[in-house]
Amino acid sequence: MTTKFSVQHMDLHYGAFHALKDVNLNIRAHEITAFIGPSGCGKSTLLRSLNRMNDLVEDCRITGDIRLDGEDIYAPGTDVNMLRKRVGMVFQKPNPFPMSVYDNVAYGPRTHGVKKRAALDAIVEKSLRDAAIWDEVKDRLHRSALGLSGGQQQRLCIARALAAQPEVILMDEPTSALDPISTGRIEDLAMELKRDYTIVMVTHNMQQATRVSDSTVFFLLGEIIESGKTEAIFSRPQDKRTEAYITGRFG
């Protein structure tokens, strides 16, 4: 399988705080990669560096090299908006815009120049179907998205991300605000989606990592301690700290 993202000697500072230290990592295409580790270990920070959402944070400095399909995404002159179109994101808390279901999903395509009604209709329906929420919202496409339940809102946010036709989807603890049933549906959905997309998922939940991910990366205090096949990490961890974390001795 091909490498989608490659991160080489990457360091990230928030002001004086050294948040990520010499990160080296390859993320493979059409896999689900899980980032695990205790709170504040830098896993979300690395995730947000992959689509340059950290640009929005003042005082954030990044050195090193992050490549998407071999292209340096921090090179001067990079079109950040195009990068974020290619690398979509689903947030921890469902954040549908306060507009209709349809307009939420159509936001991405409209941003990138799709204007024709028929084309938008088709993208909206396909995205909602792919996010496994079409049947629940097809009769209320033009009503506010804020009337949906939390789990539905999160699947709508996934549909919204899909509608921008990304290659990679970053998920920042996408189920931490959801009940177990909604969580299960999002996990099933992620496993469906990896056929067409590369998925990187931050999770606090180790069962979730074992259930859905192909590769796992374990972070501690801003460093990657261990990464590899999920099965290997969880059954034969090489590092004592990884073993301690996955067996629940800290975190």
């Binding site: 003042e58 974020r84 936001y107 991405g108 991300a161």
Partner: protein, 277 residues
């Protein structure tokens, strides 16, 4: 069931807050009632004649001028106020020096008495810029006066838009401009509108800032002509002492006008909010 024993002070406090709440309603009720009782009997069709004479104190020119004045002042102040707030919240870094400076300035400006704005407007627009007594000089003066109000309410409305929405928009590859216009401003619109309503209230009720800028000529005025507004018309009637009845009639119209504006803008805000929210 046994009654909960209460601290004796609690009953007293309960009485006090009820009385305080009741007082505000009573005062407002008395005010409105008094104006209606004194004013409505004096409302004659002749008061709405197209022209004003000393014998017939028609308020129609003043009503038309008030509308023109409100429209002009809003057209001048609202775009600048919203633009400045968007800069402060969305473009300048949070907690930046410039933002703090602008915020302190607007807070100071909003505490300045309106007569000071009137004198300033007279010196700048009427004299230095040579507009003379004119609606446009009045509208410019008022637009400066309401600018801090619009900026403050808009800034608060923008700040109350959750960052999650901004992140969601950026995360889909939208730029700053699209995020501001497609997500942030529409979400903040009800808050911005409530600021505009407050501003309309201040414009319609303003006298001191207009006395020396737009003047007191009681005829339907163009932008470069002097023209009296309703509040000033009423002030003139009352201060001359000859037209007290007419002054009450005018105040009824002023009251109804303000209530209508509030009601209408409330409806507009609810409709826009309802469509989206």
């Amino acid at each position: 069931m046994k009654k909960r024993s209460r601290h004796p002070g609690s009953a007293l406090l309960r009485l006090a807050v009820h009385a305080a709440a009741g007082t505000t309603v009573l005062v407002l009720g008395f005010l409105v009632g008094y104006i209606l009782v004194r004013g409505v009997p004096n409302l004659r069709p002749a008061l709405f004649a197209p022209t004003y004479t000393s014998e017939n104190q028609s308020m129609l020119p003043a009503i038309v001028n008030t509308c023109t004045m409100t429209l002009c002042a809003l057209l001048l102040a609202v775009p600048v106020g919203i633009g400045a707030s968007v800069y402060m919240v969305e473009y300048a870094g949070r907690g930046s020096r410039i933002v703090r400076l602008v915020r302190t300035t607007t807070e100071t400006l909003s505490g300045i008495p309106s007569i000071v704005y009137g004198l300033f407007g007279m010196l700048l627009f009427n004299n230095a810029m040579g507009f003379g007594y004119s609606l446009i000089a009045g509208a410019l003066t008022l637009s400066i006066m309401i600018l801090p109000l619009i900026m403050r309410t808009t800034e608060e409305a923008l700040l109350s838009v959750p960052d999650l929405y901004r992140e969601g928009s950026f995360g889909l590859g939208a730029g700053k401009l699209r995020t501001v216009f497609a997500i942030v401003l529409p979400t903040a619109l009800p808050g911005i509108l409530s600021g505009v309503i407050l501003a309309i209230g201040r414009i319609v009720g303003e006298t001191a800032a207009l006395m020396y800028t737009s003047g007191t000529v009681a005829k339907i005025a163009g932008l470069s002509d002097s023209g009296i507004t309703l509040a000033l018309h009423m002030y003139k009637q009352a201060s001359e002492g000859l037209y007290i009845e007419e002054a009450y009639a005018t105040s009824v119209v002023l009251l109804v006008l303000v209530l209508l504006i509030n009601f209408a803008s409330g409806r507009v805000a609810a409709r826009i909010g309802g469509k989206r929210g």
